[in-house]
Symmetry: C2
């Protein structure tokens, strides 16, 4: 997740009962899989703190192997009322910005077609059964 | 989702406070995108009913375009205590089995490496921040 990855709901059903579901995808470099696994099995407390403070809950990242490549699928729920400000706050967290993202970014390959300046590529929600 | 797609948590952290998060992926045939969108914008009531009855909540499907292909990423939460039986019950729902799945299956291409007899390919959860 990066500040540049901010994206609103892709359709109105993304927001149900004040919860916006945001999904995105990025490629994981094969030689970085071990490091990525270790980091995400035990996310640093300050990084978690910044995420929670910015009204993000139920945030998971899962690994898919498709056609010999590794993809990371991210799912999170945003419960605040100012997504842009809340994501900007995460980007201003020193630990996240100066230590966590430099490492995680080095593990990831941006997928062609991702928004300008973005790490993760937002997905479009087609169905929601709350 | 198909009965053959049953899969348990990929690691212990999948189950937090009685909720198991299940994610999976499948390819969407380009010529079926319109049909798939229409179906999932308004899932049939009987199909929804069978899903809810089987202790599945917060079930979403999102579309990713990667390398010229369309992929569907599925996220759901299972709150029951017998995943196999609950998924089998969905597979026995007449509307789902005889009408919904034949259409949705025809829209999807199974990804190489998916479990034997399975439609969707399960992902492995690497991170969870509840």
């Amino acid at each position: 997740m990066q500040s540049q990855s901010i994206h609103g709901p892709t359709n109105p059903r993304d927001s149900v009962e004040g919860v916006r579901r945001l999904t995105s995808v990025i490629e994981l470099k094969p030689r970085k899989e071990k490091l990525y696994r270790e980091l995400h099995a035990d996310v640093w407390p300050d990084v978690v703190k910044a995420i929670k403070k910015s009204n993000i809950q139920n945030y998971s990242i899962s690994l898919a192997r498709i056609g010999g490549k590794n993809y990371l699928f991210s799912y999170m729920e945003y419960t605040g009322d100012n997504l842009e400000a809340d994501f900007a706050a995460i980007a201003q967290d020193a630990t996240t910005r100066d230590q966590w993202w430099p490492i995680t970014d080095s593990c990831q390959s941006v997928i062609a077609g991702s928004p300008e300046g973005s790490q993760w590529m937002p997905l479009e929600q087609l169905m929601l059964i709350p």
